[in-house]
Symmetry: D2
Subunit: 155 residues, 4 copies
């Protein structure tokens, strides 16, 4: 792997979406790390994320994984690709997610010219890297073309 330096910093990444927008206030993401090909993001607990039965909702899990894999993609492409949009996502729910913070660990599967594919394992707080994720997600992102990236201006 000739290039290990991420193309975006955590600070740049967190500046892409305004923190005062309602979406970002509802999903309290803490981006812990972005590398060239991987990323780790924590989602702060909120009672709105609880579904009947007391576990975290599936959408909450999917949102975190989607955001994390998007960070992975931007870590390999940079802020000019912030318009990369999720085109498909497959999630497997593996066990109930206990109420509390969630951590997603994402990595690239392949960065192509027009599409990027990545995956993420989602863990309950304190269980990262273990054998018992609460969910596994793969997702694809349509990459803006070079022209579109150039047109979209600087951050």
């Amino acid at each position: 792997v000739p290039d290990h330096k991420p193309r975006i910093t955590v600070e740049q990444f967190c500046g892409l979406w305004p923190p005062d927008m309602p979406f970002m206030q509802f999903y309290r993401f803490a981006v812990e790390q972005i590398g060239y090909g991987d990323a780790r993001v924590r989602l702060g607990y909120d009672e709105h994320h609880i579904r009947p039965g007391g576990s975290l909702s599936g959408p909450t899990i999917m949102t975190l994984a989607d955001y994390t894999i998007w960070a992975v993609v931007l870590g390999m492409t940079g802020p000019d690709y912030r318009n990369a949009a999720t085109s498909s996502l497959t999630v497997h729910f593996l066990r109930p997610a206990p109420a509390g913070d969630l951590i997603a660990e994402g990595r690239i599967i392949r960065l192509g010219r027009r599409l990027a594919v990545g995956e993420a394992a989602v863990y309950a707080d304190g269980e990262t890297g273990g054998a018992d994720p609460v969910a596994h997600v793969t997702a694809t992102y349509a990459l803006p073309s070079a022209r579109e990236s150039a047109d979209s201006g600087s951050i």
Copy 2:
């Protein structure tokens, strides 16, 4: 098809999750119809659902589709199966979803003994049934066993 009568009414279905829980206040579902093998649900617009760029977020779309296909499954199995849990979900995002209400139309693909599989097309308000959904979702649900259903008590 020998049995066309749904096994759950819209009223019973809407009573399964308490309307005062934060999750249900955030996602304002209006269940328009549940049949034996299909269902239609509207999601009321909320500014929390808007992602940067002004379209509705992917998780919002996935949440609506998941809820709708769950209604399809309960329409074929009844309230004793309310513990049916999503085990996997695949979504294709087809175009940006304009700010406004969303409507999902779901139908069963197959009801098995342990698993149910369904699909949903998600439309912008006023475009249902047309050729231009904003997303398409397939999802699988693990069904509680007969014993588990019996143990879970009445609604």
Copy 3:
């Protein structure tokens, strides 16, 4: 829907792949119909398709569905798009497929500029259109750009 006429005929479609190539001799497809947005293909039985236990193999089912949805896409785009390539596929196996012919019924979910998404239900012979498919498949296809299509010459 302003355009109901398919952009490729069954004869044109069947001429895209040489019938004497080993792949096509192994998978004996009979294209029964291609419309503007749907297609139906039969796969002739072959003992090579049987897996232990006596049912048809999963790959056999996936192959037929992939080929059928590709026909759907070409029915909307025409022979210039014959280089459309499957970029992802999700299959749900719903019940064992009995030894015998299989029939897939495909339809478009959305034709975009760069990606097409379609789905197919796969049936045992004599059960098409019924409530009991053996499998359900969704698949996406990367479309060649206008320039690439123009460069690829005539059939």
Copy 4:
């Protein structure tokens, strides 16, 4: 991880399906390794696997990945679970697969009581473990219940 010993040997695994059945003669699998939670399988080249354009067909890739993840599952459960059946599979095709042998590296995502989920990366010969797989697959397997396993007799 308290238990590192696989529950099935390569020899036992290869005895599960008769080598003289047409399916196994068409797909020449060489199981290189089965561990407790991972497996590696090679697929020998055959001209029947070539699709128009000269690359290996998608079904060939899916077949290899499915077989490999099934080996992963049996490596954690043992031969009594040989009736574990694929219930769903999602594949992302990442680039054309050159004519030649293919190698799949599979690993478990989660082994549950009723379902197992695994993934595999598929590589061209000589490129395993690198950053450029030709495909990525996730698949789920319905596990036979303890009673069903007991009834199914010994190998």
